[in-house]
C-alpha cells in the first residue's frame, strides 16, 4: 500500500456517511479517524503525519466552510476534500478559493474520492518535506550573527566581496572570513547552493530583515 503512515480524517454529522467513508478509506490501507462535528475535530491534536481531511460541507454548528476558515486562522495546513449532498456553485467556489483540494457531490465514485485522497496526502507529504527543509534553513539562518546575516543577504544578491567591504566599511579579507563562516553555518559547499537555499526562504529573509 502507498503510505500506511498517512491519516485520513473524516468529519461528517451523519454517522452512516462517516462510517462508510472510514471503511472505504481503510479498504485501501489508509488510517482513518472520524469526527461527528467540526468542533470535535478542532479539539483533537493531529498526529505529525501526512494527512488529509474529508469534510461534509453542511453540518449543524460549525459548517465545513467554517472549519476550513478556522484551520487557516490557526495555521493548520491540511488538504481538504469537501463532500456535499446538495452543493451550490458559490459554495464550491468559496471552498476552492480557500484552498480545498476538491469538491465532491454525493453520490460519488469511490475511486474518485480515493484518488483525491491519495493526491491530497501526497501533496501534504510534499508540503511537509518542503516545510521541514525551510524550517531547517531558517534554523541555520537564526544561528548567524547580525553581521553575518547582513553579509548573507548581500552575498545572496550576488554582491562582490569588495563592494560588500566598502558598504560595510570593512576590509575585503574580513568579508571573506565572514563568508567562510556563513557557508559553514548554513551547511552549504558552494555559492550556488547558498543562493538556492536562501531563495527557498526568500520570504522569510525579507521578514527577518524587517526585524
Amino acid at each position: 500500500m502507498v503510505t500506511s503512515e498517512a491519516f485520513v480524517f473524516v468529519v461528517d454529522d451523519d454517522s452512516l456517511i462517516r462510517d462508510s467513508l472510514e471503511q472505504l478509506v481503510r479498504s485501501v490501507g489508509l488510517k482513518a479517524d472520524t469526527f461527528s462535528s467540526s468542533e470535535s475535530f478542532l479539539d483533537t491534536e493531529l498526529p505529525d503525519k501526512p494527512s488529509c481531511l474529508v469534510l461534509d460541507i453542511r453540518m449543524p454548528g460549525l459548517s465545513g466552510l467554517d472549519l476550513q476558515e478556522e484551520l487557516q486562522k490557526r495555521g493548520i495546513s491540511i488538504p481538504i476534500i469537501f463532500i456535499t449532498g446538495h452543493g451550490t456553485v458559490p459554495m464550491s467556489v468559496r471552498a476552492m478559493k480557500a484552498g480545498a483540494v476538491d469538491f465532491l457531490q454525493k453520490p460519488f465514485e469511490d475511486q474518485e474520492l480515493l484518488d483525491l485522497v491519495h493526491h491530497a496526502i501526497e501533496q501534504n507529504r510534499q508540503k511537509r518535506i518542503e516545510q521541514a527543509e525551510i524550517n531547517m534553513i531558517e534554523q541555520r539562518i537564526k544561528s548567524l550573527t547580525t553581521r553575518e546575516y547582513e553579509i548573507l543577504v548581500l552575498v545572496a544578491k550576488g554582491t562582490l566581496n569588495r563592494r560588500i567591504a566598502n558598504n560595510l566599511q570593512m576590509s575585503e579579507n574580513t568579508v571573506k572570513t565572514h563568508r567562510a563562516r556563513i557557508m559553514r553555518k548554513m551547511e552549504v559547499k558552494s555559492l550556488a547552493e547558498l543562493v538556492r537555499v536562501t531563495e527557498k526562504v526568500g520570504i522569510h529573509l525579507t521578514a527577518a530583515k524587517a526585524q
Binding site: 452512516l16 456517511i17 462508510s20 479498504s27 453542511r58 453540518m59 453520490p107 460519488f108
Partner: protein, 627 residues
C-alpha cells in the same frame, strides 16, 4: 250569657272567644242561631252494615250541611234482625227510653228505618218519645190499617222500584226461562219477598218465578249451583236464613254469585261489585238525602202527611265484570245505565287520559324522530366537514412535502451514498491481497443499516402523502417528533440550523392522529426554518420541546430564533392564506390549528423575549378506556 255589643275592645272579644271555646260548645253561635234540633234515627239493622251505614252518612251530611239551621243527629242500630226475642226488645226499649225520654236534651224527631222497629214504634212510641213526630220507613205503607198510626206518625216506604226488574231481566237475558228469587226468614226478608212477589205477579213475563225463601244458607249455596239452564237469580235480602242465622248481605251476596250457575240480580246499590250483575238499584246515598229533606220540612212545622216517594232513588247500575261473565251485551242495557268495575276496557274509563298520554307519547315520538333526523343530518354534516378537513389537511401536507422535496431527496441520498461506499469498501477488503473478510462483513452490515434507513425515509414520505381519514390512536411523543425530524433535518442542515430536542422524561402517550399530528410538527418546523433563513444570524437553532403541561395533556412547542412576528399578528397567523412567505399558500398554520382543535387541543404562538417565535400546542394524553 254574654250579650254582644259592637266590639270596642278586641281583647275582650278574644277573651270571650276563648272562653266560649274552652266551655266545649260554641256559645256564641248558639246565641245567634236557632236552637239546634235533635233528630234520632233508629235502624233495625246491625251496626256498620254497608247500606245502612251509607244511608246514615248521607243523612248526616245532608242534615248538618245547613249551618243556619243546626240539626244534631243521634243514631241507634237496634240490631233486631239478629236479636228478635222479646227479652232483647224490652231491653232496647228501656235503653232508648232511658237515653232519650229522660235525658235533658229532648229529641225533636224520630226516624225509624225498617219494618221490625216500625212495628215496635206503633206499640211503644208514646212510652218512648211522647208525641214528637215519628217517621216510619218500611217496605210497605203502614197506613193501611189506619188506626194503627198515631197522629204524630207518618209512614213512608223505601224507594224500591221493583217494577222494572222483570222487564230488565227479560231484555238483558231474553232466553231466561226461570227466575229464582232469593229471600230470607226475617220480617224484613218476608216483607220484601211479598213486595217482590206482588210486583212480579203483575209482570206478565215469559219466565217462571220460583222463590227460594225457606232454605238455610248452606242449602241455598248448593241450590244455586244446580239451577236449570236459562235461569236468573234475584237476590232480595237474607237477613236471617231458615236456620235462624243472620248475615251481612253483601258477603252472602258474594258467595251466592260465586257459586251460582246463573246471573244474579240485586236491589240495593251496595251489592254492586259483590257479585250481582246489577239491576235497578236503590241508592243508600239517595235515600239519606231524601229523608234529610223530609226531616227538615217536618222540623220546620210542615204538616205531617203520609209521604209517597218513588222512582228517583233508584239507578240502573251494572257490574262490567259480571256482564262479561254472563255474556250480556252492553248494548242491551237501558239508556242511562251506569256500568262500573270496567277492567279490560281501560279506554272507556280513561279515554281522555289515554288520548292525552297518547298525544304526549306521539309528540315525544315525533320530537324524537325529529331529533334523530336532525342528529343524523348533523352527523352527516360533521362527517362531511371532517372529510373536507381531512382533504384540506392532505393537500396542505402534500404542499409541505413539496417544500421540503430537496431535503427529502437528500435524506434518501445519504443512505444510498453510504451504501455505495460500504459496497465498494467491501469489494476492496475482499479483493486485497491478503483479503480481509472481517472488515468486509462490517461493511456489509453497513449496507444493511443504510438500506434500512432509506426504507424508513420512504415509509415516512409515503405516510405523509397518503390520504387517510382522521383516526386517533395511542402515540409515543418522542417517536412522533423524531420521525418528523428525519424529514426536515436536511432542510435545517441546508440552512445550517441545528434542531435540538428537549423531551421531558416519562411523558405519557398521547391520543391523536399519527399523520396529522406529524403534519402540524412539520409545518411548525418548516416555518421556523424559513423564518430563520430570512433572519440570518450565526447561531441558528430550533428547539423542539415536549413536556407534560397538565395532567391530561402533553405540550409540544417549536421555538425558533427567526424573524419573529409583529405584535398584532399572533392571531392573524392562523388565518388561511395569511402568509409572510413568498412561496406557500399560507394554509399551514390555519390547517395546523384546525387539526389540533380536532384533537381537543390548542395551538398558539408567542413572541420570544429575545428573538423569534414559539409555537406551542397541546394534545390530550391517551387514557386506557380510549380505544
Amino acid at each position: 250569657m254574654i250579650v254582644l255589643n259592637p266590639p270596642r275592645n278586641y281583647l275582650i272579644l278574644i277573651v270571650i272567644a276563648f272562653a266560649s271555646l274552652w266551655s266545649g260548645s260554641f256559645l256564641l253561635a248558639q246565641d245567634v242561631s236557632p236552637v239546634a234540633k235533635r233528630v234520632l234515627a233508629i235502624f233495625v239493622f246491625k251496626q256498620s252494615m254497608p247500606w245502612p251505614y251509607r244511608f246514615e252518612q248521607s243523612l248526616r251530611a245532608a242534615l248538618t250541611s245547613n249551618p243556619s239551621y243546626p240539626i244534631e243527629l243521634d243514631v241507634e242500630y237496634a240490631d233486631q234482625l239478629t236479636f228478635s226475642k222479646k227479652e232483647y226488645l224490652s231491653k232496647v226499649i228501656d235503653l232508648y227510653r232511658y237515653k232519650y225520654k229522660f235525658s235533658k236534651q229532648k229529641v225533636d224527631l224520630v226516624l225509624v228505618i225498617g219494618n221490625e222497629f216500625a212495628d215496635l214504634m206503633l206499640e211503644y212510641s208514646e212510652v218512648l218519645f211522647g208525641d214528637i213526630p215519628v217517621v216510619l220507613i218500611t217496605l210497605e205503607q203502614k197506613n193501611k190499617p189506619r188506626n194503627l198510626l198515631k197522629p204524630n206518625m207518618v209512614s213512608s216506604v223505601y224507594g224500591f222500584d221493583l217494577d222494572k226488574m222483570g222487564p230488565l231481566i227479560q231484555s238483558l237475558l231474553p232466553k231466561t226461562e226461570n227466575l229464582f228469587v232469593i229471600s230470607g226468614d226475617s220480617l224484613t226478608d218476608r216483607k220484601f219477598k211479598n213486595l217482590a212477589a206482588g210486583v212480579l205477579a203483575e209482570f206478565n213475563g215469559q219466565f217462571a218465578v220460583h222463590y227460594l225463601d225457606d232454605f238455610s244458607v248452606k242449602e241455598l249455596l248448593l241450590e244455586v249451583t244446580q239451577l236449570p239452564e236459562n235461569s236468573a237469580i234475584l237476590f232480595l235480602t237474607v237477613f236471617r236464613d231458615a236456620n235462624g242465622q243472620s248475615f251481612i248481605q253483601r258477603d252472602l251476596m258474594s258467595k251466592i254469585s260465586e257459586k251460582a250457575n246463573a246471573p244474579t240480580f240485586g236491589v240495593i246499590d251496595t251489592y254492586l261489585g259483590h257479585g250481582i250483575v246489577g239491576g235497578n238499584l236503590l241508592s243508600a246515598e239517595n235515600q239519606g238525602k231524601r229523608y234529610a229533606e223530609i226531616v227538615e220540612k217536618m222540623l220546620k212545622g210542615e204538616p205531617l202527611t203520609n209521604l209517597k216517594f218513588k222512582g228517583k232513588a233508584n239507578q240502573m247500575m251494572f257490574d262490567w265484570r259480571q256482564l262479561k261473565r254472563w255474556s250480556i251485551d252492553e248494548d242491551r242495557l237501558p239508556a242511562g245505565s251506569i256500568v262500573r268495575y270496567r277492567e279490560a276496557s281501560v279506554w272507556g274509563d280513561y279515554k281522555w287520559t289515554i288520548v292525552g298520554v297518547g298525544a304526549i307519547i306521539f309528540a315525544q315520538a315525533f320530537a324524537l324522530i325529529g331529533l334523530t333526523i336532525q342528529h343524523r343530518r348533523r352527523r352527516l354534516a360533521e362527517e362531511e366537514s371532517q372529510r373536507l378537513r381531512d382533504e384540506r389537511a392532505h393537500i396542505s401536507r402534500v404542499l409541505a412535502m413539496g417544500e421540503i422535496a430537496a431535503s427529502l431527496a437528500h435524506e434518501l441520498n445519504q443512505p444510498l451514498s453510504a451504501i455505495r461506499s460500504y459496497a465498494q469498501a467491501a469489494q476492496r477488503f475482499l479483493g486485497n491481497d491478503p483479503s480481509d473478510p472481517d472488515e468486509a462483513i462490517k461493511a456489509l452490515a453497513g449496507i444493511v443499516a443504510g438500506n434500512r434507513r432509506a426504507e424508513e425515509v420512504i415509509k415516512r414520505i409515503r405516510m405523509a402523502l397518503k390520504k387517510e381519514p382522521f383516526k386517533q390512536s395511542r402515540l409515543d411523543v418522542r417517536d412522533l417528533i423524531q420521525e418528523v425530524i428525519m424529514l426536515v433535518r436536511s432542510k435545517a442542515k441546508e440552512q445550517n440550523i441545528l434542531i435540538r430536542l428537549e423531551i421531558a422524561a416519562g411523558l405519557p402517550p398521547v391520543f391523536g392522529d399519527h399523520i396529522q399530528l406529524q403534519q402540524v410538527l412539520l409545518n411548525l418546523i418548516i416555518n421556523g426554518i424559513e423564518a430563520m433563513a430570512a433572519a440570518g444570524g450565526s447561531f441558528r437553532e430550533i428547539v423542539v420541546q415536549a413536556s407534560g403541561e397538565k395532567s391530561d395533556a402533553v405540550m409540544i412547542s417549536v421555538q425558533d430564533s427567526g424573524v419573529g412576528i409583529d405584535e398584532n399578528q399572533e392571531d392573524l397567523l392562523f388565518d388561511a392564506f395569511y402568509t409572510t412567505k413568498s412561496e406557500g399558500m399560507g394554509m399551514g398554520l390555519s390547517i395546523s390549528r384546525s387539526i389540533i382543535e380536532d384533537h381537543g387541543g390548542r395551538l398558539w404562538a408567542t413572541r420570544n423575549p429575545d428573538k423569534g417565535t414559539t409555537f406551542s400546542f397541546t394534545v390530550p394524553i391517551y387514557e386506557e378506556d380510549e380505544k
